[in-house]
Amino acid sequence: MSTAPDSLPDGLPDTWRRPPLIANPLLRYGLMAAAVAYFIWACVMLPIDWQRVAQGFARAARIFSGAFPPSFERSGLLIDGFLESLKIAILATVGGVLLSIPIAFMAAKNLAPMPIYLLGRALIVVARSFHPVIVAIIFVKAVGFGPLAGVLTLIVYSIGFVAKMLAEKIEEIDWGQVEAMRSVGAGYFSTLIYGVFPQIMPRQIGLSIYQLDSNLRASAVVGIVGAGGIGSTLANAFGRYDYDFALAITIVIVAVILFSEAVSGQIRKRIW
């Protein structure tokens, strides 16, 4: 055993080392050194204004003393903001899920011809890669401030997730049922309706509920860059240094998110 240089007369070693994860010592220590070097370099390179940071604790104290107790005085504004977020989430879920269906069929390897498959995949990758806030800021520029930009943003966001999951589901459907439909002479759309849809419907409903929940969360965020809903209310409160109102909004956001997570979890458990 190479790990036991000083073995005893009877041949039993008295040293032991755990076999390393990476056998080659050069590579092992090289990787460790590289990781350490990277972290040091990354920390040193960050443009941090330490003086400004040092003031942070005093500011944090001021912000928190301004935030307590949270103020629910303008609860009308708060409720309006939330209802708007809810509307944005509902419309974006409906739009996103409907648009996801054709895109998912385009992006399913087993149903779509190559060029269409690639187009479908590209659409999904683009929709998934951009954070909703980036999408929102572009829509805000294109169609103006307000909930419309929010709905459009979250439609894109929904497509990124729902179309991807749905395409995966379509790719793993039981092909026998499709062939059975074809063998009785059904056309393309009847095949889809009787051979494919029943297999993906439960997943699609589950995904829609999940997406409604995540759209509600995301709508709080995209509002910060002007796309309507409770996020806009929050960003305004922050901008006006109304920290007590901002805290009240945050508390309600957290409560609503926890509630909607619990509800959507329950519903999906029954459907899936």
Partner: protein, 267 residues
């Protein structure tokens, strides 16, 4: 119910009760949509105008202007650093949080609730909202971004890790307790090896997510590539904005490839 007639004349897919329930769900969904459509604060003319506006905007993005590419790339690297450093710190901090938030390892009921409180408050507040807060505290800049991402990641990693701790095989734990090992040694020998695969998988997954999140921090002033995007958009420099968007796309796709590769290597 099933009719006594051996060959029923009619066939229905659902029982009347099921049909009622389905109808109620459909009705409720339809009402929710109608309510949203009719009461949302939208100028409909703008909606029909939107495709035109989008086409116009994308038209102005072509061709992308790559003159600032070197500085865009260097800020992009900075964005990667924000994500990586924040993930690394969050991973370390989330370990004790996961430990006290897991039912089978937490010392007592008070620590369990403390752990759960940390996880819930971290998880329910989005990175961007954390960033708003930390920009107000630390001022605009990278440190606010790192801290924001860190705060959000602790809840994510801590929750998944805590669940992994709750799902471990308890038998080795019992065996090591029987040898007279201290609590800490039992953790190191019986619990840590069991949650290691989850630990790496979650850390890599969160790094991938954080890469995406760090691209938008700049839009609220918390550093990274978002700052360049914001200023390009504010100055209507759409061609440069297009370059930034393309480089973000490349970064995110690359990040997904790297994390998929790492996952395969580590697990």
């Amino acid at each position: 119910m099933v009719s006594m007639d051996p060959t029923p004349q009619e066939w229905a897919r659902y029982t009347p009760r099921e049909r009622m329930l389905r109808f109620a769900v459909f009705l409720f969904t339809a009402l929710a949509i109608v309510w949203s459509l009719t009461s949302i604060d939208v100028i409909w003319a703008w909606v029909f105008d939107a495709p035109q506006q989008m086409a116009d905007l994308f038209g102005r993005m072509v061709p992308p202007d790559a003159r600032n590419l070197p500085s865009i790339l260097s800020v992009l690297l900075e964005t990667v650093n924000i994500a990586t450093i924040a993930t690394a710190i969050a991973v370390v901090v989330s370990l004790p949080v996961a430990y006290i938030a897991a039912q089978n390892t937490t010392p007592n009921a008070a620590t369990l609730w403390l752990g759960r409180f940390i996880l819930v408050s971290s998880r329910s507040v989005n990175t961007i909202i954390w960033a708003l807060l930390f920009v107000a505290i630390f001022g605009p800049g990278i440190i606010a971004g790192i801290v924001a991402i860190m705060f959000r990641s602790i809840g994510f990693i801590g929750k998944l890790l805590g669940e992994a701790i709750e799902e471990i095989d308890k038998r080795p734990v019992e065996a090591l307790e029987a040898t007279g090992a201290s609590r800490f040694k039992v953790i190191v020998y019986a619990i840590v090896p069991q949650v290691m695969p989850t630990f790496w998988a979650v850390a890599i997954l969160r790094w991938d997510i954080n890469l995406r999140e760090s691209t938008v921090l700049g839009l609220v002033g918390a550093g990274g590539i978002g700052i360049i995007l914001q200023s390009a958009i504010d100055t209507f420099n759409w061609q440069e904005a297009a370059t930034v968007l393309l480089s973000i796309l490349a970064l995110v796709v690359l990040g997904e490839v790297v994390s998929a590769w790492l996952r395969k290597r580590v697990i």
